[in-house]
Amino acid sequence: MTIAAPTLRWAVADAITLTRRDLAHWARQPGVIIANTLLFPIMIVLMFGYLLGGAMTVPGGGSYREFLLPGMFAMTMVFGIGATMVAISADAARGITDRFRTLPMAPSAVVAGRAIADMLTAVVTLAVLIGCGLLVGWHPHGPLGDTLAAVGLLLLLRFAFVWVGVYLGLVCFANPEAVTAVRTVEFPIGFLGNPFVATATMPAWLGTIAAWNPLSSTTSAIRALFGNPTGGDHSWIAQHSVLMATLWPLALIAVFLPLSVRRYRHLS
């Protein structure tokens, strides 16, 4: 059997092969994947939207559920980091990554395939969440262009956290405790932001920290783009939320994409 030389074409073909592997996982265990990605945000929407929501008032006015849903969209994008990290570290720990590294495939394909598969998952997850949002009375009120821009910013945020997840997965695979630790830290990150409550209601110092959370920038930006209540934050970062919702993810990608590739090349 002869094997062609590696080219850009193979890099693409190999990434697609590994993306297909993840799609095959979808087909083989749809229940697990739905439970992992959708159950949590839906539960939170029901809990905060209905159970606690009655006691919530949004500074600057507006429906709490309309305020909450964009926060859930953004938080789900960030929490996708757990799935990325677990997938990457499981492959590395079980020797599957080693098998790939002994094959004459494009080295970029392993991380690229992961990123493509996770982005496809993110698109499906987001579509389902938006559908759920519409069911509980959330609506985008802005022009279509703004709505699409908001979806774009959400996926950009997910893309940034794919690379954070790939990097952390490659660093932590040898000890499962580290993977659990990172997944635990997700929660304070999600709550130390503005998805649930407006930063204006927090003590000033805490509000400032929460406002500078990348998650908050995306949440503020898409609230504005969807025409949902924004929570009356008049800080500089909140006033420039669309800019920051673009810069934050780009900065994360600029740091973690090269780190991930470097880490993969130097696996031993």
Partner: protein
């Protein structure tokens, strides 16, 4: 097919490979035998392009593992200590994926997956998720995956660790088939029996370097030739039997009293065996067992490394 010259690899302060030399000719099973931490796995990872050596020359199938890694990767297969297969996918999907990553094309990859499932006795279970496979089936799938292209060199790093004897035999059978097809196999193991069963040549490795090389028979002869073992039926006969053997063979026998066993090196095993058996019968000393045996690889290993405990 494999050449290592003065290879060194350090992890922090510890030297995993410390002047490692190896020369493996084409088409043989070559055993790398050593205890845990001797450097076997590091050697395999360097050879399989997973780990860069700090210094020294490493060639596989005529290509340098550092500067020509992609050439090497088109010619090797690796079976590591754990079955590197996707648990969620079926056996067939795993093999097709590996075929595609070798750029065989969808149709050829599918056909090859079918052939390999057949050959490794997985045809019936090829459609089931690997999660439902037994340990032995996973191993065989793992072997099959490293055989998607018939590799020139196959690295087997402790391929039967954790398998029961029946599954171990099945894996051994598969390995013999692969060698018959012309592949050169480098096998690491801490099971002496495995090396004895499969390998034509063995290098014993300790503390990151090769301390002895030869066929199993040659290695065994390095700690002396044959031994005559006598097990007497009654413990009371032991001392008399030792005196008798010492007188007849002019050797100094060793005695294991609990086992009632006397063991002595012999130059001419058949003559010694008949002579001693005859003499014992004359003295009316009942014998449970009398036999000539070659030293085990275990004894060879202990002798070579100067260790006091057996390996497996």
């Amino acid at each position: 097919m494999i050449v290592c010259e003065q290879v060194r690899k350090r992890f922090g302060k510890a030297a995993a490979l410390d002047g490692f030399d190896l020369m493996v000719p084409k088409g043989v099973v070559y055993g790398l035998l050593g205890p845990n931490g001797a450097g076997k796995t590091t050697a395999v990872r360097v050879l399989a392009t997973l780990l860069r050596p700090d210094s020294g020359k490493v060639e596989v199938a005529g290509f340098d593992v550092v500067t020509q890694a992609s050439q090497v990767r088109r010619r090797i297969g690796l079976v590591g200590q754990q079955a590197a297969v996707d648990e969620v996918l079926s056996g067939r999907q795993n093999l097709e994926m590996v075929g595609r990553l070798y750029h065989l094309g969808a149709r050829v990859a599918r056909r090859r997956a079918g052939e390999l499932l057949e050959r490794f006795g997985l045809a019936d279970t090829g459609g089931k998720p690997v999660r439902q496979y037994s340990g032995g089936m996973r191993r065989r799938l793992d072997l099959a995956a490293s055989f998607v292209i018939a590799p020139a060199v196959l690295f087997l790093d402790e391929p039967t660790t954790g398998l029961d004897p029946a599954n171990r035999n099945q894996v051994w059978e598969s390995i013999r088939d692969l060698v018959a097809a012309g592949t050169t196999v480098l096998l690491t193991t801490q099971y002496l029996e495995e090396a004895d069963q499969l390998a034509a040549t063995i290098s014993v490795i300790d503390a990151g370097r090769v301390i002895a090389t030869g066929s199993p028979a040659q290695l065994k002869s390095r700690i002396g030739g044959d031994h005559l073992d006598v097990v007497v039926q009654h413990a009371g006969d032991l001392d008399a039997a030792v005196t008798l053997i010492r007188a007849r063979l002019a050797t100094e026998p060793s005695v294991e009293r609990e086992l009632r066993r006397i063991s002595t090196p012999v130059d001419d095993p058949i003559t010694a065996l008949t002579q001693i058996a005859h003499a014992l019968r004359e003295k009316d000393m009942a014998v449970d067992d009398i036999a000539v045996r070659r030293p085990t690889l275990d004894e060879v290993f202990l002798h070579l490394t100067g260790r006091t405990e057996a390996l497996a």
